[in-house]
């Protein structure tokens, strides 16, 4: 890069920073006049002007020069802050930004429109110039004479003096007396009030029933504050004397330059981003090398080398932590942008918005801030456009006509939590459902089965915009699906909460740094894989009898909860032969809760996450990779991605489905009631894996024994009637039910005619002289005599003593 290019790059970077600060100042001034803010704004524009002169950017120079003049007038109070002025300033700043971004075409970017406006601004206001000299006689405001005693009084009392013009008839009061009651609130401050008898020129359109009126106010609060506190439909306001909060009023502006710049230089320093990136890469590699060293050195802390290595390891971890923090920037960076966007959007939509922002000092990694900035702005625009009702609607509903949008950030155990909420109309699940059905996103049938939360979640599907017309404000570009993906890619999540009529709340969370994470390393089929520790609930040994197959899903009984499981080996290497898994890890994300079956556990380790690369972005089940101590790459699995890939039921759908399954979500401490050959039985259900409805014709014979196909294998079919030696009654139905239990690691199907119910408790009455341990007793259930059995014991005995046909008498 040549010297000129380098200089230009620096100039552009500096100007952008300056303009950003200038914009901030302008937004501040919109709310409150502050001399210091005006001064610094003046200086910023002055700098931009000077710099552009060096490079001979003529348009830039001209525009900033005129702007500087305008600000000079503002500084000297020759003009006052009005909405038009703020608009003009913002417009000009935008134009300058545009020129900076397209610096090559700077000369072709038009500025004449702004030049005209600025010139007119100056001229118009100059004829009404009100000087801040209290001794000036005959301060006139459009032919109204304000006695100079007022101005003297203002100076003495050190209060603000201003005049408000309005039309009495335009005020919101039904009766004039209400208006006077209203003004009683600040009656102490009213120096003079007068109805203007003659129809003076100041009303642009002279309406017949208008009542022009003015108030001269002397108050301790500024004119802007006054108008915010006591809103009135004003036509025009004039500030005659204004109090400046500090004693800076006495000093001339130029002398302040030093004061400001000095304070900035002491605490911060500018660093090239590429330098920081290099630093981070180096630290990342240092960590990998450290891990390699630690591996080779399986240390005992007594050894000298062990102690030194341990210390070195600690230092490296700390260093990594600090380096990652260099990339942290305050959220205030986006907050400023948001402020501007909200202001502009409110104007476009004609809505009043009270934007509350908190937690700007919370820090987030720089790369993340850029990404989520767009998402946050999209969400807020959405709220403003679709969420907040119009001013009239809100008033009709009894809501504050000014809508509130609150953006807050919080740091919670290494995660940044962002909350964006509005008090608008909320999102109606019905509306979303209908919209989704219309768009063909879901079928009417699917829709009927969905819970409200699932319906709301549809918003996050790509292409889903319920706006009846894609408004320019929020309808295009970033969609809610992009928002969710952006957060997910950064390792975070987005949740939406809403109450119809009350508003909407979005809670997004992100890890604060893209840094070192803890992972569990496992092995399946000789391949190592990693799972993020934050997803892991528990790690347990796989037990066959807890595993079952319900309605085509593999399920596992985890602490009396049936959860879906996925066999990792089968998922990743479908061609490989089935091998019984040894271990099970229970994992959880926002929508999934399931178990992963695998072969071996290696260890927990802290690793640096690396992206897999764009060739793998479509593989949702993997979310990155890392380098192990031995230099080998290991893939990190994405728990949500695996859930999707394996079509696992989500947490809410499991609850619904289990209700529909024939066996229902039976309480494993309960009793299964069934009928076979006309007799009623009940069995404790702990050993029952599942119940399947089968066609009687599908029962086959193998070596003289009844068998049936169940999943991938053939299992024996047993009948209670045989064991109990009761006559088999022919069933009129073609189907039957198979109660599948696991005995000695094998499945057996017990054929019964009908499944009646599942009950929690049963009062078991002993049977006299009961020789069999598999008959637990009898009971009266639903007014019927029922025999209580332990199926497991029943058929366990039979498996062992096949040949012994014991005669049983009841």
């Amino acid at each position: 890069m040549s010297k000129i290019e380098a200089l230009l790059a620096e100039y552009l970077s500096e100007c952008r920073e300056i303009l950003s600060k200038a914009e901030e100042n302008v937004l501040e001034l919109e709310n409150r006049f502050d001399q210091e803010t005006v001064n610094s704004l003046f200086r910023y524009i002055h700098t931009v002007k000077g710099n552009s002169g060096i490079f001979e950017f003529k348009n830039l120079f001209r525009l900033s020069h005129l702007l500087e003049n305008l600000l000079g007038q503002l500084r000297e109070k020759k003009i006052s802050i009005t909405k038009e002025l703020i608009d003009l300033l913002l417009c000009s700043i935008d134009r300058i930004k545009n020129m900076l971004n397209n610096i090559a075409e700077e000369s072709s970017i038009p500025i004449d429109d702004l030049v005209e406006r600025i010139k007119n601004f100056g001229i118009e206001k100059q004829t009404l110039s009100i000087e801040n000299k209290p001794t000036d006689p005959n301060l006139t405001v459009k032919q109204r004479k304000i006695p100079d005693e007022f101005a003297k009084l203002a100076q003495e009392k050190k209060q603000n003096l201003f005049v408000i013009y309005f039309d009495l008839h335009q005020q919101k009061f039904p009766f004039i007396t209400d208006f006077f009651d209203y003004t009683n609130q600040f009656s102490d401050w009213i120096l003079h009030k007068e109805i203007i008898e003659e129809n003076v020129l100041f009303l642009e359109e002279e309406k017949e029933d208008s009542v022009p009126y003015y108030l001269v106010i002397l108050s301790p609060i500024s004119m802007n504050e006054f108008l915010q506190k006591y809103p009135l439909e004003v036509i025009e306001t004039f500030s005659i004397y204004e109090i400046i909060p500090s004693n800076v009023a006495e000093s001339t502006p130029q002398l302040d330059i030093k004061k400001n710049t000095e304070s900035n230089q002491e605490t911060h320093i500018k660093v090239r981003i590429s330098l920081l990136d290099d630093l981070i890469n180096l630290v990342g590699e240092t960590i990998i090398t450290r891990n390699q060293l630690l591996q080779r050195f399986s240390l005992t802390n007594d050894s000298e080398e062990g102690i030194v290595l341990s210390r070195l390891s600690q230092l490296i971890t700390q260093m990594h932590d600090k380096v990652m923090h260099t990339r942290l920037q305050e959220l205030n960076l986006i907050y400023q942008r948001i402020n501007r966007v909200v202001r502009d959007t409110a104007r476009t939509l004609n809505k009043e918005v009270n934007l509350k922002m908190e937690g700007g000092e919370v820090e987030l990694d720089k790369t993340m801030i850029d990404v989520i900035g767009d998402s946050i702005i999209h969400i807020i625009r959405n709220s403003m456009d679709h969420g907040l009702e119009s001013i009239e609607d809100r008033t009709k509903l009894g809501k504050n006509p000014i809508g509130t949008i609150r953006l807050s950030a919080m740091l919670q155990s290494g995660n940044v939590q962002l909350i964006i909420e509005d008090d608008g109309r909320g999102i109606s699940p019905e509306f979303i459902k209908n919209s989704a059905i219309k768009k063909g996103v879901i079928s009417t049938e699917q829709a009927s089965k969905m819970s409200d939360e699932e319906v709301i979640d549809l918003i996050f599907l790509p292409g889903f915009s319920t706006a009846s017309q894609v408004t320019d404000v929020s309808g295009r570009g970033v969609g809610m699906d992009v928002v969710r993906t952006s957060f997910k890619k950064l390792g975070g999540s987005v949740k939406l909460y809403t109450k119809v009529g009350q508003g909407m709340k979005i809670v997004a969370s992100l890890p604060q740094t893209v840094s070192v994470v803890s992972c569990l390393f496992i092995k399946t089929d000789d391949m190592r894989l990693a799972i993020y520790r934050k997803n892991i609930i528990e790690l347990i040994q796989f037990e066959d009898d807890k595993y079952s197959f319900v309605n085509n899903h593999e399920m596992y009984n985890f602490r009396d909860r049936m959860i879906p499981v996925v066999n990792l080996r089968k998922l990743l290497f479908p061609e490989e032969a089935y091998k019984r898994p040894q271990l099970l890890v229970i994992v959880q994300t926002d929508i999934y809760y399931y178990g992963i079956l695998f072969d071996e556990m290696i260890e927990f380790q802290e690793i640096v996450v690396k992206p897999l690369g764009e060739f793998f972005t479509e593989l949702k089940m993997f979310s990155g990779a890392t380098i192990m101590g031995d230099g080998e790459p290991v893939i990190i699995i994405d728990v949500t991605g695996i859930g999707e890939f394996a079509s696992l039921p989500t947490m809410s759908s499991i609850k619904q489905e289990l209700k529909q399954v024939v066996s229902r979500s039976f309480d494993l401490n309960g009793y299964l009631l069934f009928i076979s050959s006309g007799e009623f039985f009940a069995s404790n259900s702990t050993s029952v894996i599942c119940i399947e409805k089968v066609e009687r014709s599908s029962i086959e014979y193998l070596s003289g024994k009844e068998v049936i196909q169940y999943r991938d294998t053939i299992i024996p079919v047993r009948r209670i009637e045989h064991i109990l030696q009761i006559p088999e009654k022919e069933s009129k139905f073609t189907y039957a039910f198979l109660i599948i239990i696991s005995v000695d690691k094998e499945f057996i199907g017990i054929l019964v005619d009908e499944i009646v119910d599942v009950v929690k408790e049963v009062t078991i009455l002993d049977i006299k002289d009961n020789p069999h341990n598999f008959i637990l007793g009898q009971s009266i259930i639903n007014k019927t005599s029922t025999l209580i059995l332990d199926l497991h014991k029943m058929f366990k005995k039979m498996s062992n003593t096949e040949s012994n046909q014991r005669k049983i008498s009841l």
Partner: protein, 140 residues
Amino acid sequence: MKIQILTWKSNNQLYGTNIQNCHEVQKDVHVLKVPHSKKYISGIVNLRGEILTVLDLPAILGLKEKANDGNSVIIRMKNKSKQIALKVDSIEQVLNITSDKIEDASLHLNGKELEFIPQVAYSDSGFILLLDIEKLFIVR
């Protein structure tokens, strides 16, 4: 006009590309196959702390892909913003080729191969298929 090309062999065919885009050659690296990935992706490899995607050249060209047997030879290739690794059978020489020895490949190839190999070159070592590596960076 002369260009320097790095040549290699894949399935007994000689290929080459401008050496400016080749930044490194590694023999004997272990490539980890990623389950469910596309056929033309051999896998990923660790190259000095960075995870690099390894592409199988024959597969990309629509020829039969090579089985991942043991360790591989890879060439790290870069363009302005991205980098990938290409799995090859063996590295051959760096040759200086003059423009008169280069011609349009459409006379010799067609279909998918032509997409990736716009030109061919003649040399003492044989007939070289010149790869346009920009095409490799496009994810299909």
